[in-house]
Amino acid sequence: MNIKNKIKITVNGKQMQIIPKFTLKSLITKLKMPLNKIAIELNKKIIDKNRISKIQLKKNDKIEIVHFIGGG
């Protein structure tokens, strides 16, 4: 894959490069995130986890993946 074809996205504040037509589902799988324990935001919009295989990521997309941690 030519580096020019790579797309820059930001996941949890960190830059990542992906290939074109990479889906949100591929990203979650790549990051080994358990779907039932997370929530996903794409450009500040909450994403229905059942739809992630249909969403192709685009240049400069900002993704937030959150889970529960200890808190008061």
């Binding site: 996941v11 504040g13 960190k14 358990p34 959150v66 941690i69 808190g71 008061g72």
Partner: protein, 257 residues
């Protein structure tokens, strides 16, 4: 007859002690403390997943949300928009609608920003959330939260994590008198007697995190808090004697030699 069931948003809970899951040395210590405390509601926070360390332990691996009610909070939020974004995400993780709203106004004293808190309560309630609201011990504001649709009023005893105990018993009593909503002391508890006092004032429950998590022996403190809450509740329900300035002998003088 006082209804002794602990009911929040039409759901009955066994324990009147709600425990926070922050500040423990480990998830296993946290899980053990929760088990010992007997709590069936725990507060949790929403944060970014660490994407560079995929194998890091997760809270949900230690505390099963099917066995214990997760109460997502909005810790670290300073505006209504932050709080709503956080709780929408919490709901998306697993359908949680019962939430703890806390909108802070100052990073040092961690007091709630009540104008934003009130606005958030209205907006979240409209969106179908059942909002338990961390608030100041201000009876007027407590009333406004109730009118905005809060399902529980949760005034502070003292600043979060301070361990100072209940600073304004009079206001807590006034709030108790004016509301039928669950009244839960949230923040500022330091030791077991503080929890008992909260319950003796007529509160429905107590939410404790730091006082357990940062005790030298958190597991033992979890048990102490459990007993203190039960004890305080029983004391409240039993109807205390009237305080009297002078003594009243327990032993009769009749038959004295």
């Amino acid at each position: 007859m006082i209804d002794n069931r602990f009911k929040i948003a039409n759901k009955i809970f066994k324990s009147r002690l709600i425990v926070g899951t922050g500040k423990y040395k480990s998830f296993s210590e946290c899980a053990k403390a929760i088990k010992t405390s007997g709590a069936d509601i725990v507060t949790v926070a929403v944060r970014r997943v660490n994407i560079s360390n995929k194998n890091k332990a997760r809270l949900m691996d230690y505390i099963d949300p099917k066995k214990i009610t997760y109460l997502p909070n909005t810790a670290g939020c300073f505006t209504a928009e932050d709080a709503i974004r956080t709780l929408r995400l919490a709901r998306e993780i697993g359908g949680w609608k019962l939430v703890k709203l806390e909108v802070l106004g100052d990073k040092k004293n961690l007091f709630p920003e009540m104008i934003e808190t009130l606005r958030s309560t209205e907006l979240l309630t409209k969106e179908g959330f059942k909002v338990m609201v961390y608030c100041n011990d201000d009876p007027l504001m407590a009333k406004r939260l109730e009118n905005a649709g809060a399902v529980a009023i949760m005034p502070l005893a003292a600043p979060i994590g301070s361990g100072l105990g209940i600073q304004n018993k009079v206001n807590i009593k006034i709030i108790r008198k004016q509301t039928k909503l669950p009244l839960i002391i949230d923040a500022g508890i330091g030791q077991a007697s503080d929890a008992s006092i909260a319950m003796e004032l007529g509160c429905d429950g107590v939410l404790i995190n730091t006082a357990i998590a940062r005790a030298k022996n958190p597991i033992q403190m979890a048990e102490a808090m459990k007993l203190a809450v039960i004890s305080g509740r029983k004391s409240f329900l039993s109807g205390r004697i009237n305080p009297n300035l002078f003594g009243s002998a327990s032993t009769t003088n009749k038959g004295i030699i």
